[in-house]
Symmetry: C2
Amino acid sequence: MKVPPDLLAFLIAQNNFFIATHLNPEGDALGSSLVLAAALETLGKKVVVFDRDGVPEFYRFLPGHERIIRSIDGIETSSFNLLLLDCNTPERAGIEGIAFRFSAVIDHHETESDFGGIRWIEPHVAATGLMVLSLVDALGVPVTRDMATNLYTAIAIDTGTFRFGNTSAEVLRTAARLADAGAEPAAISASLYETWSEARFHLLRMALQTLEIRDGIAFTFVTREMYRATGAGPEDTENFSSFPRIVRTILVSAFFREIDDDYWKVSLRSKGGLNVAALAASFGGGGHKNAAGYFVRAPLDAAKEMLREKLSAHLRVPEVPR
Amino acid sequence: MKVPPDLLAFLIAQNNFFIATHLNPEGDALGSSLVLAAALETLGKKVVVFDRDGVPEFYRFLPGHERIIRSIDGIETSSFNLLLLDCNTPERAGIEGIAFRFSAVIDHHETESDFGGIRWIEPHVAATGLMVLSLVDALGVPVTRDMATNLYTAIAIDTGTFRFGNTSAEVLRTAARLADAGAEPAAISASLYETWSEARFHLLRMALQTLEIRDGIAFTFVTREMYRATGAGPEDTENFSSFPRIVRTILVSAFFREIDDDYWKVSLRSKGGLNVAALAASFGGGGHKNAAGYFVRAPLDAAKEMLREKLSAHLRVPEVPR
């Protein structure tokens, strides 16, 4: 992958960097940020890494995760160059209104925003981690075992551990290179997928009991009452939306998480060609083609029905002659 | 991987091959057999592929699967050379007592059997498919798109799609090579993991409702009554044993499938270093280190208790001075 020369020149010329990534960070956001920070430090630069939401517990196996700060108190941001990773607006990182010396964006999400003095956006790349690896190579920094672990995690998460449509030969070859450099595929997978609490597992069982399948949509939900019954919390519902995808007849899995009375976060996961980013956008949300979400204020049944109607219209084949 | 010269010479010298693989075949058994057959046919040999149990429905995306025969009626077996793949005794393939001209074994399972005039057994190789790919290369046969799909499936299944401990850099590099040759990672994963019937999903939900966790063991079960209630069948329980592994505190997942009154098939899945093959063997069963099974005649509670006791003894740290 070709690194933009202006970005490379900027990283080489500058000395103070403030790396920020998105709220509610996952493996690609965290891994990419930690690796770019380590690479720049190898070159003698000063780097801070910021995520307002901090590192979720099950990502605390990532080497260097403890360096991620959640507050900018005491940091003279205006003397730092912002590097915004795995997102492309200050709002997504919770840093709107904060002044920086300059800003560069490195991201693989489609966007209409024009934020950033330098913008490197590659919507067809599977993970921001792959872009960061290209940067590390371009900077001439050797990939350490810690970097390999972070980048492997970044790629694993964003490709569903090599199951999603973005899993190319190049992605697999890069994973092999990172394993050669010391990443441990099985240990990383176990950290990502086999560290659930019993409470979380009980919550999943409850969510699966709510399954309702209509018109190719799998509806599941979790209520605040279920948190009380199981001892699990909202953060435990990550990926619940993916489970019903294993059913052949399901085109979209829609998972409703209760936030307040008649107020829901809806996570959509699609299979194949169906673009749920557009669907989520029509409710004021957003996301990727196969993974998107939105918030809705309505009683559960009404919220489900709104989605079902919109999706049916979306799926209906136009019958106009062409 | 080095192919034994006697095996290679044998494949080149002979003209009639009877490829057989194990009962209840999965992706590695099927994919390896289909690819070796295609490669030998490219060299002008006559090949039949046999599996007594036939091809499970969700493996019918494998190119060439329809050529697999379930009966030897009308085949003069004594004029064929047996190639036993992904298993190492005639009993595992349901062909005991059948006469062949000669026999060769190609397998990655640990064994004490000495069956086979030529034996190529590599217990440290992740999948028989990797051995077959080495053979195809050694025979000088180009890897077609169909071969790549079969071999990618073989490797994906036996590494848990690159999540198990046998996922090495070499495995990932081979997967990349196969993707280059035309295997489609996402389509294969969808075929393997996202084609469940609704009945099967309902059965899984019921099985998860039976979860009981004691001493690091997750017990789940499925009864014949549950088949009646959901419309699912015994073959739908494949991989049910793996689900509880996502819970951090669980060392072993034990899934009990009712066969008859007080008669159960037990599937064990372990995490980390725990060897369930030895545990299963102590009940007259067998398998791999992290995936094994056995049959037991006892009421369910007694059968669970027998396992719990034996596992506790197995886990107990010896306190004798050394």
